[in-house]
């Protein structure tokens, strides 16, 4: 979901505490919303503009359906790097397959989780990803560490990476999706503040998917074993963005299914009318004539 706005700012900014000078705006605000519609587990295709109902702070809006292929994807892949050093020969081909599913105008960045968050790959076109360089970069991102980490005292790389990806501003001409690939492996007692991540996610312009593979997936980078609390928090975070947490059997299929679902999602755009521009806007998206379909869209946005 993205918001582009033209603003006439009449006074200074508002501080976090709410104290300080007030801002008064008169503006038009163009809002873009990613909407995934599933029939069972399958994306429902072929819906038309007139089938969607969208309200912004309870006010119905006139939406336009943008062809999904007109807005290329920015993919942020978050992946644990703890075992990468030991499993390079297996992970390398796996990562190559991930990149192969991207299309020419799409871009990818990879955040590796070792002792800290590492930019394994900064945003670039899928065709510019070095064919063998990704696994080397991921291995280096692990800092050569053993598959042991200490999230609470060193900071929590998973928590940090999610926030880094969620807070990043999104290019208005692109769709941003974050995929957190979570392969259970070494034990850990990470309890990132899930409530905070979910709150940040609700205001993010990206869609978050978490692909969680319980049990050790041979040949995959290992990660911490999430507590039930973490899974619930991540589910809340993903759903607030219009994404989801998926329990998956293996990473390859999980990633492809997630990317396919996102690629087949609908892009709705409207100029917000009848609502003030600033502050929190609660969104509701429905497809009333398809009662059995499940609609995933973000729960709201912050107007500018």
């Amino acid at each position: 979901m993205k918001v582009t706005a033209s603003l006439i700012v009449l006074a200074g900014s508002v501080a976090l505490s709410g104290a300080g000078p007030q801002t008064f705006r008169a503006a038009t605000q163009v809002v873009t919303v990613q909407v995934s519609v599933l029939q069972g587990k399958t994306p429902l295709r072929g819906l038309t503009t007139s089938e969607f109902e969208l309200t912004d702070n309870g006010v119905p809006q006139h939406v336009q359906l943008i062809p999904a292929d007109a807005t290329p994807i920015d993919l942020t892949l978050i992946i644990g790097a703890y075992g990468a050093r030991l499993e390079a020969s297996r992970i390398g081909p796996y990562l190559k397959r991930l990149v192969s599913w991207l299309q020419a105008p799409d871009r990818i960045q990879v955040l590796g989780l070792g002792r800290d968050v590492r930019n394994v790959l900064t945003f670039r076109s899928a065709s510019d990803v070095p064919s063998d360089g990704l696994i080397g970069a991921l291995t280096r991102s692990s800092g050569g560490t053993d598959p042991i980490h200490d999230p609470l005292l060193l900071g929590s790389p998973s928590f940090d990476a999610l926030l880094l990806a969620l807070i990043r501003p999104v290019d208005p001409d692109r769709r941003s999706v974050i995929v957190r690939l979570w392969f259970e492996g070494s034990s850990g007692n990470a309890v990132p503040d899930g409530g905070l991540v979910a709150d940040v996610a609700a205001r993010s312009d990206s869609v978050l998917y978490v692909a969680y593979a319980p049990g050790r997936t041979e040949g995959m980078p290992t990660d911490s074993t999430p507590l039930q609390y973490e899974l619930q928090s991540l589910t809340s975070a993903a759903e607030a963005t219009g994404g989801a947490l998926r329990h998956v059997g293996n990473g390859v299929g999980a990633f492809k299914d997630t990317l396919d679902e996102f690629r087949q999602s609908y892009v709705l755009r409207y100029t917000a009318t009848g609502v003030p521009t600033g502050g929190w806007h609660a969104l509701s998206v429905r497809v009333p004539n398809r009662p059995s379909a499940v609609v995933h869209a973000r729960t709201g946005y912050v107007g500018r």
Binding site: L16, L153, G155, F159, I167, N189, G194, V197, D199, R203
Partner: protein, 397 residues
């Protein structure tokens, strides 16, 4: 251009270089020259040597040991040569700190046994400072307390190395030699803090823990649900235990009898442990006392950072953001506070706050991590590695 012509250009180029630059040409095994340079107190030359040598790896220790074992016995003033060799080993280990722990551990264990096995009743200041530097080297590894205090959390190889130092690791040896050294007393509690109190009392998670710990365990573990139920109860019990341990250790820190210089550091630990035991208001009080009692940027960053967490858990979001912001004045771009502050700013409706959140994250993660005291908290002397080594060098004069 043919090979002979290219070779000639390279040779002419090398001959035209000033002497210092010529020395920067890659050398083979650096052990012998490194020991000699350190003995002559040519620390700049030592640095230059290591920069120009091949990067150290998992084979470096064997080459070093072969040379150093002979070198230590190779001259008069054996005591001094012992400490020089042991300190060079610390230097090599430091350069391997981000590699698998065993690589550095071999140097550290060799050095600690070299110093520990001396037949000397003399307790010199050099020896005391050396133990502090060695503790710094050991606690900057992935598993900070394996070698330094005999905690067994790493691989079999690391355990074997650790056991060769003896029960209780280096700290036990150092405390036997210098029982009054305040830093060793603090380190002993820091070890307990690391092992027993790693729990962040996020309020809604604590509420869940308090609920789960009351659950009835399955009579027999038969189904997946039984396994999950048992795991949930065990996790909750360990969380409750960690909170209790935090409260107990807080009292242990309060009971430490140390010179006044150590007051702010002790207050910091009490503040952190108060936070971990869920006493957020107490935590803020202790951490603000650190801010009033110290001018050390490391302590001030940590006090403000943890205060930010405690305030957030108290629901004082704006004050928490201010505390994280204050901490960043001491270590700009440190990721721990930059991330928390950005998260809080991104919850704001004000565009300026949200823009600043994005900018903070962009800068903090654009390159590798900037120095961040929170990454060192609980790792004893690790933060002071450079200062401790400098002190050893001065005492070797």
């Amino acid at each position: 251009m043919g090979m002979p012509a290219r070779l000639a250009i390279v040779l002419v180029g090398l001959l035209c270089l000033p002497l210092g630059a010529r020395q920067a040409v890659s050398v083979g095994d650096p052990a012998q020259p490194a020991l000699d340079l350190y003995l002559r107190q040519d620390y700049a030359g030592f640095e230059q040597l290591l920069q120009s040598a091949e990067p150290l790896d998992d084979h470096s220790f064997k080459a070093f040991q072969k040379v150093a074992d002979v070198w230590v016995r190779g001259g008069e003033k054996n005591e001094r040569r012992t400490f020089v060799a042991a300190t060079v080993a610390l230097e090599f280990a430091h350069r391997l700190r981000d590699k698998p722990s065993e690589w550095a551990a071999e140097f550290l264990v060799w050095a600690s046994n070299l110093v520990g096995n001396r037949e000397s009743d003399l307790r010199s200041d050099t020896e005391r400072l050396w133990y502090l530097a060695c503790l710094a080297g050991m606690t900057e590894l992935s598993q900070p307390w394996d070698l330094s205090a005999g905690v067994e959390s790493g691989t079999v190889r690391l355990r074997t190395l650790s056991r060769s130092i003896g029960p209780g690791g280096l700290l036990a040896v150092a405390q036997r030699r210098f029982p009054d050294e305040p830093r060793f007393k603090i380190a002993q509690l820091e070890r307990d803090e690391w092992v027993h109190t790693r729990f962040e009392p996020v309020p809604d998670y604590v509420a869940l823990v308090r609920h789960n710990v009351q659950l009835r365990p399955p009579v027999e573990v038969r189904s997946t649900e039984d396994v999950t139920q048992q795991s949930v109860i065990e996790t909750a019990a360990s969380a409750v235990q960690a909170m209790r341990a935090s409260a107990q250790l807080r009292e242990a820190f309060k009971a430490l009898q140390l010179p006044n210089d150590f007051g702010p550091e002790i207050l910091l630990h009490i503040g952190v442990l108060s936070m971990r035991s869920g006493s957020f208001t107490d935590s803020v009080r202790y951490l603000r006392a650190v801010e009033g009692a110290s001018s050390d940027p490391y302590l001030l960053y940590l006090a403000n950072h943890v205060e930010g967490r405690a305030l957030y858990y108290l629901g004082a979001r704006a004050e928490a953001a201010e505390a994280f912001d204050r901490s960043l004045a001491y270590f700009r771009n440190a990721r721990s506070s930059a991330t928390w502050l950005a998260a809080l700013l991104s919850l704001s409706d004000a565009p300026a706050d949200r823009d600043r959140a994005a900018e903070l994250m962009s800068v903090a993660y654009r390159t590798g991590p900037a120095p961040d005291p929170w990454r060192f908290y609980g790792r004893s002397e690790a933060w002071r590695w450079s200062a401790n080594i400098r002190q050893v060098q001065q005492s070797l004069k």
